[in-house]
């Protein structure tokens, strides 16, 4: 039976049998080699025939001659001896005194996700923002655990924050005021509005409706209140596709009042995540991941109690589940049951609950473990769970004393206005039906696209007399509006925003609006009849009212500099749960074989769809599936077999009146009897990148079941859709790439968990090994900490001008990411079921091998070693033999097969990092350890060195770079500090401390090839509960 058939068949029995044969940990074989399916070939073929969007391949008769010419002309041989084209120097007319040409500057500001602010530190080169990092002073984007000895400190950030730089420069952004689809002017709009305002004023705002997304900006709220005071009858509706309605109702149920939980994972010894992807989803995820990782820094000499333990119970495999020490995959209904069982075990009255499909032992162990760590436990549930589950979880935490000051969970007044957004949108629609809505002003957001299907918002919106839309794009809503006003990007705006804990971050512009966009503030000033007040004044004036006049100037400047306004976080709030929660009866399990629950979740790349036109995010491989440029129905192998569905089969989903067709992607680890579909795709008017990508999950979404659509009928359409993933094979083939073991094993013998299969790790060579003296760069990646969130990949893409190549090119295996996060499925004695394997993440980037195989085979010396241990890549010397890639065992080299960097738009050129060469067609590229940052630091250190007495003239080096002076882009972005970089010859450096011999569980990948990689890994440690571990646990990857 051929590999192909073996991979394609979903015969679990066969797989179980296979696995039964082997003892120890086996890595799981991928279900399908995408490449072997005929439709793939068809796809690729016609991509090449018809021409992918990246490069048109159809030739006119004239170009035929041109081609024949080219074949004779041997493409510009004379290039070697011709002068460069004349270049212009354009200096300032008046140079701002703080600007030093060629030196980057950093500004603190904030961006907003789901309404909540997160701190940013934006790098600006000669007035162009070029790179985004987290602001370490901001609670939502924490910096390193240990303060750096020297150098600039960056905070962590998530992919949305980092990629928002591309969002700002996006040439598809709407660039002009439009009225009825025709170009118009802001002044025209303001005059019209002010006239309208008068009329509205006479009727006290009767008929004026405003629709915003979740708002936490104090300034905007103040403006709104002013507006509502001026027009008492005006109505303010809020709609955010990803809101906190469920949590809110949960809190109501539990405490009788709304309260918002703030989680301190660093205080928790035991964590139970009930369908909550707290490490990568939501505006607080970076903070949460950071705190979570603080409890998992497994280093030599830690005590047993110093590592937290995470139990994850979820339907769809998320980063949290993949990171968990124990994971249980349950369908939504079963999750409800699990929580009840857990509550019951902890002595909370939930009535009679049958264990059903839930593993009783698991519940038992979790309950006991939580009880043992009462007050240091944290049970968290996600927005996707119904209110009563939230309530139960609150009850459990209360019972265990996990609430309260300095406990893992603290409650505060909700940061955003406490209202049921579902209800408020329903009210708006009702009002439209009653013809009450004369003017509807949509301040940001895209309700026509992302309102639940059952409201048929599109139809209603069109009934409104005057429709005004403020948005970044001419999107679905803009298309149906009378007035469309281009919105200024947050990096172009003055504003402010509260983070999840209430802390206010000031938002300041880094560049004048590229497309003269306007902010919500601007628009409101018009309504308030105070037009022309600029954003800065507005925000400043608001804060004058908050900070007493005397030290305002100082405070204001400090707030701008730090990016946060001190002391603005919400005060803690005491809550007590009611004795009992009245629970609905448990919903029945799966009704019929052709019916499944569809789980809707914000997408790990495009969120609720607002990032759909962001090429970086579209091409970013999704954390588990490694899928790019699509969403899909994620389904477990078993359920896929029940439904007779293969990867790419398009299924027809029907839930009452609502239908949707979407392709299937088989994902081991997903709960049976349900499928997951991510929001944010199927955009009709997103832009060149995001339009017509994937299936629009909002078409199934309903106000009464926003996150889980029950009993959806499934039918085959017979069609298939090409799904493209950047990693085709998720089995480790029993190779010791990712190594690890349990905490017990680590404590007992740290080295054992990093042991290699191959005893022959001797470094045999014909030659004397090279002596690496002085500064020697090295990187360590902590596999225990990695949560697979992809922040490193996006940060690298932004820092190193890495191109987006498009779906067709990814399909043929030409993605360009310099650092990728490999994902493997694994089974072991504890997880024998190939339907429910464990997951491993492994970030892979250039290893900067001391014996680099790539260097030896390059005929022109385009890649060679530098004295500080870098594997240099010289693009302008490369002739593109691609031999280096063949000889790279880690396959981290990337090749410009086509002209990927062809400037599509001037704005995108502005975005590029001036310190990194833009690669031309036909050259190889790869991770450089951010050599541009190293060079900058070295030059600085050399200048210091001249006067530094500790450096002698005859010494080995004339500089001394301190630990922390060089921070790679990936390292800076990583929320869990899984990436450590520095000079390994400096014994006090973090990286030296993270290598052998200090960390016995440090290992290099494929060292049996004698490559001597500089990038090494800390083996993954799982804090397994002894009761859930198999009796004999001989770890053997």
């Amino acid at each position: 039976m051929s590999q192909a058939q073996l991979d394609q068949s979903v015969d679990l029995e066969a797989l179980r049998a296979k696995l039964a044969g082997k003892q120890g940990r086996q890595y799981w074989r991928s279900l399908e080699e995408l490449a072997q399916t005929p439709e793939f070939r068809a796809y690729v073929d016609n991509e090449f025939a018809a021409g992918a969007p990246e490069w048109d391949d159809r030739f006119s008769r004239r170009s035929f001659l041109q081609i024949m010419g080219a074949s004779l002309a041997l493409a510009g041989l004379s290039a070697g001896c011709t002068r460069q084209p004349e270049e212009k120097i354009v200096p300032y007319v008046k140079q701002p005194e703080y600007v030093v040409p060629g030196k980057p500057m950093y500004f603190a500001t904030s961006d907003v996700l789901a309404g909540y602010g997160r701190g940013l530190l934006v790098q600006s080169n000669d007035g162009r923002p070029t790179k985004i990092d987290g602001n370490p002073d901001h609670p939502a984007s924490p910096g390193p655990f240990a303060p750096q000895k020297a150098g600039m400190t960056f905070g962590a950030a998530d992919i949305y924050a980092i990629a928002s730089i591309l969002g700002m420069y996006d040439p598809d952004r709407s660039q002009a005021v439009k009225y009825l689809g025709e170009y118009n002017t802001w002044t025209a709009f303001t005059t019209v509005m002010s006239n309208a305002a008068e009329k509205i004023g006479t009727q006290q705002g009767q008929g004026l409706y405003l629709l915003t997304e979740t708002v936490t900006s104090p300034t905007l709220i103040a403006q709104m209140q002013a507006l509502l005071a001026k027009y008492p009858k005006a109505v303010w509706t809020q709609h955010e596709p990803v809101n906190r309605d469920q949590s809110r109702q949960g809190a109501m149920l539990a405490f009788g009042e709304d309260a918002q939980a703030v989680y301190h994972f660093d205080r928790a010894a035991r964590i139970v995540a009930v369908d909550s992807d707290f490490v990568t989803t939501g505006p607080a995820s970076v903070r949460q991941a950071h705190d979570f990782a603080a409890g998992r820094r497994v280093r030599a000499g830690i005590a047993a109690g110093e590592m937290n333990r995470l139990y994850a119970v979820e339907s769809t495999l998320t980063s949290t589940g993949a990171t968990a020490d124990h994971r249980l995959a349950l369908s939504p209904a079963e999750i409800d049951r699990f929580v009840r069982l857990l509550a019951a075990k902890l002595g909370i009255s939930v009535g009679q609950v049958e264990p059903g499909a839930v593993d009783a032992e698991f519940v038992e162990v979790v309950a006991q473990d939580l009880a043992e760590h009462a007050g240091r436990g944290l049970v968290i549930t996600g927005e996707g769970q119904p209110a009563h589950v939230h309530a139960l979880v609150h009850a459990i935490n209360e019972k265990l004393g996990n609430h309260g000051p300095n406990r893992p969970i603290e409650f505060i007044e909700p940061v955003a206005a406490s209202l049921d957004q579902g209800q408020s949108l329903r009210d708006l629609v009702k009002a439209i039906d009653q013809n009450l809505v004369e003017t509807l002003i949509v301040l940001g957001g895209n309700p026509v696209y992302n309102a639940p299907a059952d409201l048929s918002f599109k139809a209603h919106y069109e009934k409104v007399q005057t429709r005004i839309h403020l948005g970044l794009y001419e999107d679905e809503t803009a298309a149906l509006s009378h007035w469309h006003i281009p919105q200024a990007h947050l990096l172009e705006s003055w504003s402010d925003a509260r983070s999840v804990d209430g802390t206010v971050g000031i938002i300041q512009p880094l560049i004048a609006p590229l497309y003269n966009g306007k902010t919500a503030h601007d628009l409101l000033t018009v309504l308030l009849g105070e037009g022309g007040r600029n954003g800065q004044r507005l925000v400043q004036d608001y804060w004058k009212t908050q900070i007493s006049g005397a030290e305002f100037e100082k405070a204001w400047r400090k707030a701008l500099h730090d990016g946060v306004v001190p002391g603005t976080q919400r005060a803690a709030k005491a809550v007590t749960a009611k004795a009992a929660v009245d629970l609905p009866r448990l919903s029945a399990a799966r009704a019929a074989n052709d019916q499944v629950d569809i789980i809707l979740r914000p997408d790990p790349s495009v969120w609720d769809g607002r990032f759909a036109n962001n090429g970086w995010l579209q091409e970013l491989p999704r954390p588990i599936t490694k899928l790019t440029w699509d969403n899909a129905l994620l389904v477990s192998p078993a359920t896929a077999r029940d439904l007779g569905a293969k990867n790419g089969d398009v299924l027809d989903l029907t839930s009452g009146a609502y239908r949707l067709a979407a392709p299937v992607f088989i994902t081991p680890g997903h709960a049976d009897g349900c499928m997951t579909l991510h929001l944010g795709y199927g955009r009709m008017r997103a832009g060149h990148v995001g339009t017509n990508v994937g299936a629009n999950a909002y078409a199934l979404r309903q106000t009464d079941q926003p996150w889980v659509v029950r009993d959806v009928k499934v039918a085959h359409t017979g069609r298939t859709h090409q799904l493209v993933d950047s990693q085709k094979h998720h089995s480790m083939e029993n190779r010791d790439l990712v190594r690890g073991g349990t905490l017990d094993e680590f404590l007992h013998n740290p080295a054992s968990i990093a042991k290699s299969h191959h005893e022959d790790n001797l470094h045999l060579s014909l030659y004397e090994p090279y002596k690496f003296t002085g500064t020697q760069w090295a990187m360590t990646i902590d596999l225990t900490a990695c949560i697979g969130c992809n922040a490193c990949t996006i940060a690298c893409q932004s820092e190193n001008n890495i191109p987006v190549v498009g779906k067709a090119q990814v399909a043929v295996g030409r993605e360009m990411h310099w650092i990728r996060v490999d994902h493997y499925y694994s089974n072991d004695a504890n997880h024998p079921d190939p339907n429910q394997p464990e997951s491993e993440f492994q970030p892979v980037t250039c290893m900067h091998c001391e014996n680099a195989p790539c260097e030896v085979v390059c005929p022109v010396g385009a890649t060679q070693h530098s004295d500080d241990g870098l594997n240099d890549m010289v693009y302008n010397r490369c002739i593109g033999t691609r031999y280096c890639s063949n000889n790279c065992p880690y396959k981290v080299r990337r090749f410009n097969f086509l002209e990927y960097q062809r400037p599509v738009a001037e704005s995108l050129q502005l975005m590029q990092n001036p310190n990194v060469t833009v690669r031309m067609r036909g050259v190889m590229e790869k991770c450089t350890y951010c050599v541009q940052r190293i060079s900058a630091a070295r030059i600085g250190a050399k200048k210091r060195g001249i006067t530094d007495p500790s450096i002698s003239a005859g010494g080995d080096e004339d500089y001394n770079i301190l630990d922390g002076e060089v921070v790679t882009a990936c390292q800076a972005a990583c929320p869990t500090q899984a990436i450590i970089f520095g000079n390994m010859n400096d014994p006090s450096s973090q990286v030296a401390q993270s290598r052998l011999p200090h960390q016995p569980h440090n290992y290099g990948m494929l060292t049996e090839l004698n490559t001597r990689p500089r990038t090494t890994y800390l083996a993954r440690v799982r804090n397994v509960h002894p009761k859930l571990a198999a009796a004999t646990h001989e770890e053997h990857y």
Partner: protein, 217 residues
């Protein structure tokens, strides 16, 4: 029948047999020389500028220091080309209605920058940092030549990689005392000896100076 070849064809035949390879060699040699010639490199060619700015006049004549206009030479990778403002500091007082300065005044009034033509143009994949060279004692003149003799500015060196390497391999000959780094007419008979001292003083160390990543990123 008529004979196919006449006696002198032998001479021709042998001449070609020897001559052709010879010619190829010679042509190659000339080709190589041409690459270094100023025809190819443009060394010594005065370049037209929107304003006929004379370094000769400002440096030799008025003795203005390089850093007065090229502000960031000591602090940043780029030396910086002066903002119109800087020109106007003087030219708002003197030569206020000189015709040749009209573009400067226009620029200042309209806020439109002057578009100078780059004289020393390194390829985009080469990253040169002025500050470190200045700090280590490499004088401006080492690369920019005797600017005080240039009525119109021209390229003083061919800027070939080989030329960069010469200095990166053995910098001492190009080093000079701190006080004369910005002087373009400084001369010393004993540079070799002097250079060695300065190298010690500034802790010049050639380790890694010929690594690719020192100049290419």
């Amino acid at each position: 029948m008529k004979r196919l070849f006449t006696p002198y064809t032998n001479t021709i035949a042998r001449a070609t047999a020897l001559g052709v390879p010879l010619l190829v060699l010679i042509a190659g040699g000339f080709g190589r020389m041409w690459l270094d010639s100023s025809y190819e490199t443009g060394v010594g060619e005065a370049i037209d500028q929107p304003v006929p700015f004379s370094h000769e006049h400002h440096v030799a004549g008025l003795g203005i220091d390089c850093r007065f206009c090229h502000l960031s030479a000591e602090t940043s990778s780029v030396a910086g080309v002066p903002a119109t403002e800087v020109c106007m500091t003087c030219h708002s007082q003197i030569w206020t209605n000189a015709q040749m300065l009209q573009p400067v005044r226009d620029s200042f009034e309209k806020g439109q920058p002057i578009q100078w033509v780059r004289v020393n143009d390194l390829p985009d994949f080469v990253y040169f940092d002025h500050s470190i060279h200045v700090a280590k004692g490499v004088g401006c003149a080492e690369c920019h030549g005797e600017v005080h003799r240039m009525p119109m500015t021209w390229k003083a060196q061919n800027l070939h990689m080989t030329w960069c390497l010469d200095c990166h391999r053995d910098p001492e000959k190009q080093l000079r005392p701190k006080d004369v780094v910005f002087s373009t007419d400084w001369f010393s008979g004993a540079r070799a000896k002097l250079g060695a001292e300065i190298a010690r003083e500034n802790k010049v160390n050639t380790k890694g100076l010929t690594n690719c990543s020192t100049c290419h990123r």
